[in-house]
């Protein structure tokens, strides 16, 4: 069931940027959350991961980022085996990560939060800060306010900005659009795409599945710790099975209802 890949990808000779192979991982010894999950991202690709709540999507990202112990299987970055490497070492290698929750430093000011994003290369901070102020003017206005006071959506923006500070070569995003207003969601998705177009490989987990699949090159559907389906974004979005089990028909129904109105 895992090997539904078809089309160009099957004959792929390109080298993977990040690859998770048969990862088995979990939080408590003896209880595995991921049961042999595989994922590969090629240069310049944008990968979406969707799936039910508790499927292990966040766990997969964390396992790739060294936050969850990988019991078996491997994670590679380019040629390097990065299984169970410490996170700060991954950051040095150019991997960026935005967690699903707790994704800002609440008692640091907004500016300091951003500075943390580029901790390893302090020389470039000014330049990158300016770039971020351009992208997120709200943040600029309140740059001395502590991040703990921000609203849910504002935090999410800040978290994203923090990850963008360091210009990563691989970006792992866990539900970047959650809690954002529609226009910001759109903007986030487009911006991610744009970043992706500059050659950054993006792996994102999304519950806004429809949107996610629209913009992703390829998608994986995770269920119970395994990748149940994979394929290009559009294939998945139109796969009736996927729709029934994971996407639901709400958006479609609502849109139809409205259009019929």
């Amino acid at each position: 069931m895992t090997e539904q890949q078809q089309g160009g990808t099957a004959t792929e000779t390109r080298k993977a940027v990040v690859e998770a192979k048969d990862v088995v991982a979990g939080y408590i010894p003896g209880v595995n959350i991921l049961n042999g999950c595989s994922l590969v991202a090629y240069p310049g690709e944008m990968i979406g991961i969707i799936g039910p709540n508790g499927a292990g999507k966040s766990t997969l990202l964390k396992a790739m980022f060294g936050l969850v112990k990988v019991h078996s299987g491997s994670v590679t970055l380019g040629d390097r085996d990065i299984t169970n490497l410490r996170t700060n070492q991954l950051v040095e290698m150019g991997v960026g990560f935005v967690p699903q929750t707790n994704n800002v430093f609440p008692s640091l000011s907004i500016e300091e939060n951003l500075r943390m994003g580029l901790f390893l290369r302090p020389k470039k901070i000014r330049e990158r800060l300016d770039a971020m102020w351009d992208l997120f003017p709200v943040l600029h206005d309140r740059r001395n306010q502590s991040a703990g006071a921000l609203s849910g959506g504002e935090r999410q923006s800040l978290a994203m900005a923090r990850a963008l500070m360091m210009e990563p070569s691989v970006l792992l995003l866990d539900e970047p659009s959650a809690g954002l207003s529609p226009v910001r969601q759109d903007e986030t998705f487009l911006r991610t795409r744009r970043i992706n177009k500059t050659g950054v490989c993006v792996v994102m987990v999304e519950q806004n599945a429809r949107r996610c699949l629209q913009i992703c090159d390829r998608g994986y559907v995770l269920d119970q710790g395994r990748d149940a389906y994979s394929g290009t974004g559009r294939e998945l979005a139109n796969d009736p099975k996927v729709i029934e089990l994971y996407l639901g028909t709400l958006a479609k129904d609502v849109d139809e209802e409205r259009d019929g109105h």
């Binding site: 700060n88 707790n102 430093f105 008692s107």
Partner: protein, 428 residues
């Protein structure tokens, strides 16, 4: 019988007794009066607040009016032997006194008892004697003492606060680290004769190393294993216990001094202060300012705050949290060691439980300023220091000076729960 008067003493159970039995070197008492079974003594010393007065004449008159005269010796001492029990009036002869003296009590009645030497207390003052000191002077002196104590507490509590701030750990062994500074000072400077500055530097370096080492072998592995904070707190309690007894075992349970010499003293108006205290205060201020600058303005300082906020995210930002925390331990322990050394110098001694005695003050300082804020700890420590030193001057019983500091802490927390510099947290 070797000491001959025991039987007699039994008869005099209820009275205060001073029986001169055998004398050691006679120099102390110029002429002796030996009370016996049928002899009593009256003795005293004539002195002003400036010193004993020689050659003063006194008359001792009994109830019948018979009197005898004595003259004080070089050391102002005099005594007479009498052979009846009863009231005697001792009067100083004003003529024999130097001029310009104020005789407060020139005459006193003494009831003698056989076998006993009774004191006759005559009070003579110089003309410019004043029985009170200015409250203001006392206040100024105590304020300076308070600042001094506050700065020393600050040195130690900033480290405590840093550790709490970065790891969330309440380190109960911090006090022993303070003690360690003093103990090492004693060993290196007093015992091994190192110079104060070299020795002091070495103490700080060694203490900092213990911080590094502790984190390396203990705290880091525990963090890795995900040990809870309360559990870690109990580990610090265990460590504290072990260290206290290591000190008892190695150095002993008595007070030891880093320097044997008495510190030289300076006076600034009403304030008397030792040179050591001045140097200690200056060092504290410089070090604290340095730490403060490092925390606020440097990258690594920000990193410590980031780690304290959200360690997982910090490492996801590329911060090597372990290194940051190790640095914090190293610095905090170095500061604690420095504080202990200065404390031992300024308070003239260090003992196995010296740190323990101020532990609560350290925690109070940290909390007063706002948990986890290093500057808060500084301000808190100074407030605590001032309260401890000033409350007796302002009329609190001396017993309660620590209690007063703690009470102030409680009251302040009621008004400002987040501490002086802490920020309230957002809900929801």
């Amino acid at each position: 019988m070797r000491r001959g008067v025991a039987g007699l003493v039994l008869a005099l159970l209820l009275a205060p007794v001073l029986a001169l039995i055998s004398s050691g070197p006679a120099s102390a008492v110029d002429t002796l009066c030996l009370p016996g079974p049928d002899k009593a003594c009256i003795a005293g010393t004539i002195r002003t607040d400036e010193g004993p007065l020689a050659d003063v004449t006194l008359t001792v008159t009994d109830e019948s009016g018979a009197s005898q005269e004595v003259t004080t010796s070089e050391s102002g001492k005099w005594n007479v032997q009498v052979d009846t029990e009863g009231k005697y009036v001792v009067k100083v002869d004003a003529e024999s006194l130097p001029d310009d003296l104020d005789v407060k009590t020139g005459e006193v009645t003494v009831v003698t008892k056989f076998g006993v030497t009774k004191p006759a207390l005559l009070t003579i003052r110089t003309a410019d004697y004043s029985a009170t000191t200015s409250k203001f002077d006392e206040l100024v002196q105590s304020t300076v003492n308070g600042l001094r104590l506050g700065l020393l507490l600050a040195l130690a509590s900033v480290g405590l606060s840093l550790i709490y701030g970065t790891t969330g750990l309440s380190n109960f062994a911090h006090a022993e680290q303070v003690t360690l500074g003093g103990m090492l000072g004693y060993l290196l400077i007093n015992q091994n004769g190192l110079g104060l500055w070299i020795g002091g530097l070495l103490v700080v370096v060694l203490c900092a190393f213990t911080g590094w080492f502790q984190d390396r072998v203990l705290w880091q592995p525990l963090r890795r294993r995900g040990l809870g904070l309360t559990q870690m707190m109990i580990v610090t309690i265990g460590l504290s216990l072990a260290l206290q007894y290591v000190y008892q075992y190695t150095v002993g349970a008595r007070t030891v001094r880093v320097l044997q010499d008495n510190p030289s003293v300076r006076e600034f108006g009403p304030v008397t202060i030792t040179n050591q205290s001045i140097v200690a205060m200056v060092i504290s201020v410089i070090v604290l300012a340095g730490v403060g600058y490092a925390l606020l303005r440097t990258r690594i300082g920000r990193a410590t705050r980031a780690v304290s906020d959200n360690p997982a995210l910090a490492s996801a930002s590329g911060i090597d949290t372990d290194r940051v925390i190790r640095l914090v331990w190293t610095v905090a322990m170095g500061l604690a060691g420095l504080s202990g050394l200065l404390y031992a110098l300024v308070t003239n001694g260090i003992k196995w439980d010296s740190g323990l005695q101020i532990l609560l003050l350290l925690f109070a300082a940290v909390t007063l300023g706002g948990l986890g804020t290093a500057f808060g700890a500084l301000i808190g420590a100074i407030i605590i220091g001032l309260v401890v030193e000033l409350s007796p001057v302002l009329g609190m019983p001396g017993d309660f000076k620590y209690a007063t500091a703690l009470l102030i802490l409680i009251l302040l927390l009621l008004v400002r729960p987040q501490g002086l510099l802490g920020k309230p947290q957002r809900v929801g």
